[in-house]
């Protein structure tokens, strides 16, 4: 039994539809390959976070929410996001129909749901404009709410937190097998520490939820929720390449059924809603009268209707966005020191190169790309420790793993420069935090044991020892310590380490030049100790 919503196959499949499908699959494959390749500081000519950088909504909201625009943001937007925004001006929502990896994943999920979906078709097309309003005005109020709803951000984070650890574990198992082992071992995943991420079940659940929306009609997410789609739809009103539905129209509604976006108003005089059309062109070959065609800039007699965007809803949602942003600022967990660091959590550590905390929160879209590239799996999504405005922002958790010395992967990968890119040599003076020894718990201090693991491990020689009361005891040179967390990670005292990295002092508020000067003026301390040169 064929449902009316099911598209008839074969004859109606035009060349343009086949091309579009090929492009879709190719774009998804490229996205997944780049995603898989995004590990560590190794870069290719194409940045692995390409899709995040080309996302025009990420660019737009970052422009709204960031207080200061660094050079790296501007360069990234000009290089990657602007061309895609230009594509939006050219062809309505072609990004959604042809390139968006989440859109393609939803298409696949729609197929899996098959006939079942049409029974409860839900259409709330205004909702996505309201979401866009909330994201835009929330951004103006200083909070990037994108993390909840941007399709690329959502997909990247869900795959990172939800799918990567399990995949890595499976690959490690494969590498143990005799037949496929040697091949599997070639993958960099196998040689890296097993990654575990907090809240991975929530992230995976959200993606599964988005896919399950297929039960309420094709492209449910794209039709009703996606703010990127809403933005491209608005821009698409001025599109150059458009659909043309000509006359005579028999009113058979074949095009209406073929359209997965509810973009065609049927009846005797069929017309389409340009803000909803994703340029999939499934309708083009389906018209028995052959009246649907793609027209260029010259012939502008195309019949389209404007979608009635409910301004009131948009403003209401915008007020919610602003409210959320403000609540984030007055949240108890987010009570902040003068420098912007949360007072409630002295252990909150960001990745190296992070902008000062307040600015960081304005820029970070919580795409988890930094978490994905961290080869040590040391970066984790924040739960409550960064305040309500900091949910899912990256935090360094030394007890899980530490920040590896010859690596700047996270800052290179950040699409919005919440982590500002840096050279590896700069790592010696970019402060993440400062290690402090709890002498009451340190076994080299409180029980005269020969431990000094922290001194042994310290990559920057910030931890040193001196003989006190006839025993070697560890000390921290706070001008040298950058807070990489290797000491906290390796400290044999448990469950909490006796040496812990604090964010106090918050030296990352300082300019990089000042951080360097502070580091350069350090004095050598301790026995058998040579201070490392700054350059």
């Amino acid at each position: 039994m064929a449902s009316p919503a099911q598209k008839s196959k074969g004859a109606s499949e035009t060349r343009v539809v086949r091309t579009r499908r090929t492009v879709q699959v190719a774009a998804l494959v490229v996205f997944l390959l780049l995603f898989a390749a995004a590990i560590g500081p190794w870069r290719f000519p194409i940045p692995p976070e390409l899709f995040l950088r080309i996302d025009p909504l990420v660019a737009a909201v970052t422009l709204l929410s960031a207080q200061t625009l660094s050079r790296s943001i501007i360069v990234s937007i000009a290089l990657f996001a602007l061309p895609v925004a230009a594509l939006g001006l050219l062809t309505e929502r072609a990004f959604c129909g042809w390139l968006c990896p989440l859109g393609t994943v939803v298409d696949i999920s729609d197929r899996l749901f098959g006939v079942r979906q049409a029974r409860r078709h839900v259409a709330v097309p205004w909702l996505k404009f309201a979401v866009l309003g909330a994201v835009g005005l929330g951004g103006l109020a200083g909070l990037s709410l994108l993390f909840l709803v941007d399709p690329i951000v959502l997909l990247t984070r869900s795959l990172t937190l939800g799918a990567v650890p399990g995949t890595q574990a499976a690959l490690k198992r494969l590498a143990d097998l005799p037949a496929v082992g040697p091949i599997a071992s070639l993958l960099p995943y196998v040689g890296l520490p097993q990654w575990v991420y907090r809240s991975s079940i929530i992230s995976a659940g959200i993606l599964i939820g988005v896919l399950a929306l297929s039960a309420m009609g094709r492209r449910f997410w794209c039709r009703n929720v996606c703010p990127l789609g809403a933005m491209l739809g608005l821009m698409g009103r001025a599109a150059v390449l458009r659909l043309r539905i000509g006359q005579p129209c028999a009113g058979c509604d074949a095009c209406v059924r073929a359209c997965k976006m509810d973009a065609i108003k049927g009846g005797e005089k069929a017309a389409y809603i340009s803000a909803e059309c994703v340029s999939c062109y499934s309708c083009v070959g389906i018209c028995p009268e052959g009246q649907i065609s793609i027209v260029g800039p010259v012939r502008h007699e195309s019949r389209s209707v404007q979608l009635n965007v409910p301004r009131r809803r948009v403003l209401q949602a915008g007020a919610l966005g602003i409210g959320w942003a403000l609540l984030g600022k007055f949240d108890v967990g987010a009570a902040r020191s003068e420098s912007g660091a949360p007072v409630g959590n002295p252990y909150l550590l960001r990745a190296p190169g992070a902008a000062p905390e307040q600015e960081f929160l304005r820029r970070c879209v919580r795409c988890a790309q930094c978490i994905k590239v961290c080869p040590n799996g040391a970066l984790q999504p924040a739960l409550a420790e960064a305040g309500a405005a900091g949910f899912w922002t990256p935090v360094l958790v030394p007890r899980i793993n530490y920040c590896s010395e010859p690596c700047n992967a996270c800052a290179q990968a950040c699409p919005t420069s919440a982590l500002e890119p840096f050279e590896i040599r700069e790592k010696k003076w970019l402060f993440i935090g400062t290690a402090v020894i709890d002498r009451s718990r340190c076994i080299a201090w409180n029980s005269d044991k020969v431990c000094l693991v922290c001194d042994e491990q310290c990559s920057y020689k910030a931890v040193y020892w001196q003989t006190v009361d006839g025993r070697r005891r560890p000390f921290v040179n706070d001008q040298v310590c950058v807070g990489c967390g290797i000491c906290e990670n390796k400290c044999p005292v448990g469950p909490e380490a006796a040496i812990r990295v604090f964010n106090f002092g918050d030296k990352r508020d300082w300019t990089r030049e000042r951080q360097k000067r502070f580091r350069a003026s350090a004095r050598p301390l301790g026995e058998q100790y040579t201070l490392l040169p700054i350059e």
Partner: protein
């Protein structure tokens, strides 16, 4: 819609697959006992009363020169054939714990490691493995920064990184005073010949790190040694149960400050020290760092437990160059 498989069929199939997997798991777990097993002592080879010290500069030179120096050093001990029998399994354990370059003298000179692998291969072993459980992670980066990836390739040896806990097996240390058991990597447990090849460095906790200290790198949990009542005693304890067949100390360039990780002040000593007695080798090599052997507690502890001879007057030192 065409139906491929009914719910009942699916459940039955899933049940069968589950039972198969569970069965495989049981069979696999029968193969490996989780209890601590007694160590089968590795065959002791060579003359423990001999110590060979070779002097010659190979810094910045080629593998060929390193091989010549190493061969000369092993000559007084009877050559590599004394230790590596045809068909045996050889494991070379360098010290490549940290992400440092060979020039910084925090890791064993890769030229010497290649030379050792090449020498071993000439004796016709079944396999030669270069093994370390690096401290810095990712291990792959550490192994390539220290030059071990290249060293293994040039020496035609297998490189094994011990970063998976599943590859370790709990073994008991019957004579241990503080350390009574440890998880040791299976590759090391299965070796017929263990060649310990550390670099001589100062060390915050133990004063010096030489041969016996380097074998900490074949166990999984090193933190418990540090938090035990005596790290030095743990090192000595481990050497009672699992000494190396042959210890070769890289004294080409030694690290004198900021040890063991460095970088720090280094000094070029151009030496290679080899011997069968782990205590005697360490006692002699401590001198490269300016230590009297009795000032390094784990050497003294091991000597006291009868692992070897700390008194260098009772050992014959053969110098070659």
């Amino acid at each position: 819609m065409a139906k491929g498989i009914s719910r009942r069929e699916f459940l039955i199939l899933a049940g069968q697959a589950g039972a198969l997997l569970a069965g495989a798991g049981v069979v696999r777990s029968l193969g490996q006992s989780s209890k601590a097993t007694a160590v089968v002592p590795r065959q002791r080879l060579g003359n423990p009363e001999l110590l060979a010290v070779a002097h010659g500069d190979i810094l910045g030179k080629s593998e060929r020169e390193a091989e010549a120096l190493l061969r000369a050093c092993l000559e007084p001990l009877g050559g590599i054939k004394t230790f590596v029998a045809p068909g045996s399994k050889v494991v070379i354990k360098p010290n490549v714990a940290f992400m440092r370059t060979p020039e910084q003298a925090s890791s064993t000179n890769p030229l010497l490691v290649t030379a050792m692998a090449t020498l071993c291969l000439q004796a016709g072993p079944r396999e030669v493995v270069i093994f370390d459980h690096t401290i810095d992670t990712p291990a792959d980066v550490c192994l390539s920064m220290t030059g071990m990836v290249e060293a293994a390739r040039k020496g035609k040896a297998q490189l094994v990184s011990g970063h998976e806990q599943s590859a370790y097996q709990q073994v008991s240390i019957p004579r241990g005073r503080v350390l009574t058991s440890a998880e040791v990597h299976r590759v090391v447990l299965g070796a017929d010949v263990l060649i310990n090849m550390p670099i001589a460095k100062v060390h915050g906790a133990t004063g010096a790190t030489l041969g016996m200290k380097n074998l900490m790198g074949v166990v999984w949990n090193r933190g418990v040694w540090h938090s035990s009542s005596s790290l030095d005693q743990c090192i000595a304890d481990f050497s009672t149960a699992y000494p190396a067949t042959l210890t070769v100390i890289d004294g080409q360039r030694v690290l004198l400050t900021n040890g063991p990780k460095g970088p720090g002040r280094t000094e070029d000593k151009h030496a290679v020290v080899a011997g069968v007695d782990p205590v005697a080798v360490d006692a002699y090599s401590a001198g490269l760092l300016g230590f009297a052997p009795e000032r390094v507690a784990h050497i003294a502890d091991a000597a006291r437990m009868g692992v070897g001879q700390m008194d260098l007057r009772k050992v014959r030192v053969v110098k070659v160059s």
